[in-house]
């Protein structure tokens, strides 16, 4: 069964450094997403991406964050100048573009630890 893959599974970085989290969505999907889950808290929407541009973003997704689809398969989240409070699980998801259902298929996540 097709799945969303994320790398790395765990990323450790120093405060102030930049990180890039990588995702390979399901191949025929059209919408791509990033979510964040701080330990013990709820899954929070960050951004949706369609047709090579941001479709929607939350108030969390400020200038510190950016997304890119550099080629036909990868979808990346870049976090500039990381802060301690950026430590969280980051999930990538994709959907087939049927917005009346918008069923999300999630990857296993990248645990980001900012020291």
């Amino acid at each position: 069964e097709p799945e969303v893959t994320q790398t790395p599974s765990h990323q450790v970085t120093q405060m102030g450094q930049e990180v890039i989290l990588r995702c390979v969505p399901i191949s025929n999907h059209l919408y791509f997403y990033w979510y964040r889950q701080i330990l013990g808290q709820k899954v929070e929407f960050l951004v949706s991406f369609y047709n090579n541009e941001i479709s929607e973003k939350s108030e969390i997704f400020d200038d510190q964050f950016s997304v890119e689809r550099p080629d036909g398969s990868n979808f990346t989240l870049k976090i500039r100048s990381t802060k301690l409070e950026d430590s969280a699980m980051y999930f990538c998801a994709s959907s087939d573009g049927s917005l009346t259902k918008n069923i999300q298929y999630f990857g296993a996540g990248t645990r980001l630890s900012v020291l």
Binding site: V4, Y31, Y33, Y35, Q41, K42, V43, E44, F45, S48, Y50, S55, E56, S58, M89, F91, A93, L99, T100, K101, N102, I103, Q104, Y105, F106, G107, A108, G109
Partner: protein
Amino acid sequence: SQKIEQNSEALNIQEGKTATLTCNYTNYSPAYLQWYRQDPGRGPVFLLLIRENEKEKRKERLKVTFDTTLKQSLFHITASQPADSATYLCALGEYSSASKIIFGSGTRLSIRP
């Protein structure tokens, strides 16, 4: 303010009983509501979707209801098993923000043998 609340942070029930989880929302106009399962350290996995004009959906041992008057969805697992132990998340999507879904905080369900 907008809220999605799942009634209890944790629910413990005995194997074989029916688990009922509640999701209430405030100041949203959902086009649909979804339920996901999340195991520790893993991403959510989609289970069921119910649209605003539907009252009930079923899939195997799972049933979800949707009451737009009460602004509530109920999620039932019948004949519960220890393997059903996980966190269950409700999520909704609105027509006004078609590509975005908003999650509740989840209910951690434990089924004891």
